[in-house]
């Protein structure tokens, strides 16, 4: 149990997907103009990541691995299978949310399909493989990574909203400043590296 909490804290804060690995930057920079939309995308990412990582773990272990159903090493199919799972799951989540909670669907609407090509999701699936997590650990890794990403995008959106009132050299306005802010936040998050997750056991 301790390991699971440990991994959650580590993936949410210390090895933050957005601010230490800089994954999912495309939507991160494009959608972080206002806190409200950033929060919408953040929630959607937590949702999808929390579902796809365990799902991909099961597929990798029971279908592609050597002790899976087919009994042979099919890991070269990982990329195609993982991205199809993510695309299918995003589609499924979209349909379920539309059916049961139209208000949530309307607020997430445009962001859900975007998530398929968010590098943070596929990146987390591939990291889950290279770090050799077991099932429980991969659940907590998926959720933690999603929460960390959501936290980062909401924080950046808050700063960018305030940035609208500052005087910035014209060529740096908008995108340029967003890059510098993300870099500074990255340095700030490095301060968390000193935390020993074992202390939370």
């Amino acid at each position: 149990m301790g390991d699971v909490i440990n991994i959650f804290i580590k993936s949410a804060f210390i090895e933050n997907m957005a601010l230490s690995y800089f994954l999912g930057m495309c939507s991160f920079l494009a959608v972080s103009k206002s806190v409200k939309t950033a929060l919408g995308l953040g929630v959607a990412v937590v949702f999808v990541q929390g579902l796809t990582i365990p799902m991909n773990w099961l597929i990798d272990y029971y279908l592609l691995g050597e002790n899976g159903i087919f009994g042979m090493d099919l890991t070269f199919l990982r990329f195609i299978i993982f991205i199809s799972t993510i695309a299918a799951l995003v589609q499924l989540v979209e349909m379920v949310v539309e059916k049961f909670s139209p208000s949530l669907y309307n607020s997430l609407g445009i962001f859900l399909p975007l998530i398929t090509v968010n590098c943070a999701i596929l990146g987390a699936s591939l990291f889950m493989i290279t770090k050799e997590y077991n099932f429980a650990e991969s659940v907590s890794f998926g959720l933690g990574g999603g929460v960390g990403w959501a936290l980062a995008i909401v924080a950046i959106a808050g700063i960018r909203e305030k940035m609208a009132y500052s005087i910035i050299p014209a060529p740096l306005r908008g995108l340029g400043m967003a890059f510098i802010l993300t870099g500074l936040m990255g340095i700030a998050f490095m301060g968390l590296m000193g935390i020993d997750p074992a202390a939370f056991k």
């Binding site: 230490s20 690995y21 800089f22 994954l23 999912g24 930057m25 495309c26 920079l29 494009a30 070269f76 199919l77 990982r78 990329f79 195609i80 991205i83 199809s84 695309a87 299918a88 399909p113 398929t116 090509v117 968010n118 590098c119 999701i121 596929l122 990146g123 591939l126 990291f127 290279t130 050299p169 014209a170 060529p171 740096l172 306005r173 908008g174 995108l175 340029g176 400043m177 890059f179 510098i180 993300t182 870099g183 500074l184 990255g186 340095i187 490095m190």
Partner: protein, 233 residues
Amino acid sequence: MAEVQDLIKKEPSAFSFGKSERKLITDPINDNNPVTVQILGVCSALAVTTLLTKAIVMGIAVTLVTAFSNMFTAMLRDYIPKSIRMIVQLVIIAFLVTVVELALKAVNYPIWKELSVFIGLIITNCILMGRLEAFAMSNNPWRSFLDGIGNGLGYSAILIIVAAVRELFGKGSLLGFKIIGPSAEYVLNTNSISWLNWYTPNNLVILSPAAMFLVAIIIWLQRAKNRKLIDIS
């Protein structure tokens, strides 16, 4: 009717290489750069730029994948149903990335090991989806192929600039050759005199936030020169 006939006349052969084709390649390198202007494909641009070799390999891989995925999608564009086109495009991309990854693993194992998940992450590189949606779905295969090459080169250009600065100032070397900073000899024997010793490699430049700042500086310079790109909002 006359306009339609003009359009048909303008495309005599599928493989012509005229002014508009040249523009497809040169445009994304500066005026319409995928990283600094279209904000596509930033993720991997930051992680792989600690060493120049890594950046060059990544640039070649992305250029190949963009060019061929653009071409295949353009060939299939009339047969792909609108509702499932994302999945079809992703499968085409994932297939090409798998080929590139296995080829790299066979040709140069150490580089493959260092790039680890980032070769796989080419699949979700937004340049690919962005160009497929914006260009390949409405153009012929040859023009889409050139557009893919152009965007791949634009991406590689940014990667190589950022990686050259990071490797030179962070490690004092380029492509693994020592350029500035104390040599290995100096570390063993501090009495050895070399005019290169004045520079101490800066560890901050190796950390990933530095790549963010470098891209921001590139954007700044590019927009100061080319004022029509400035963000008005």
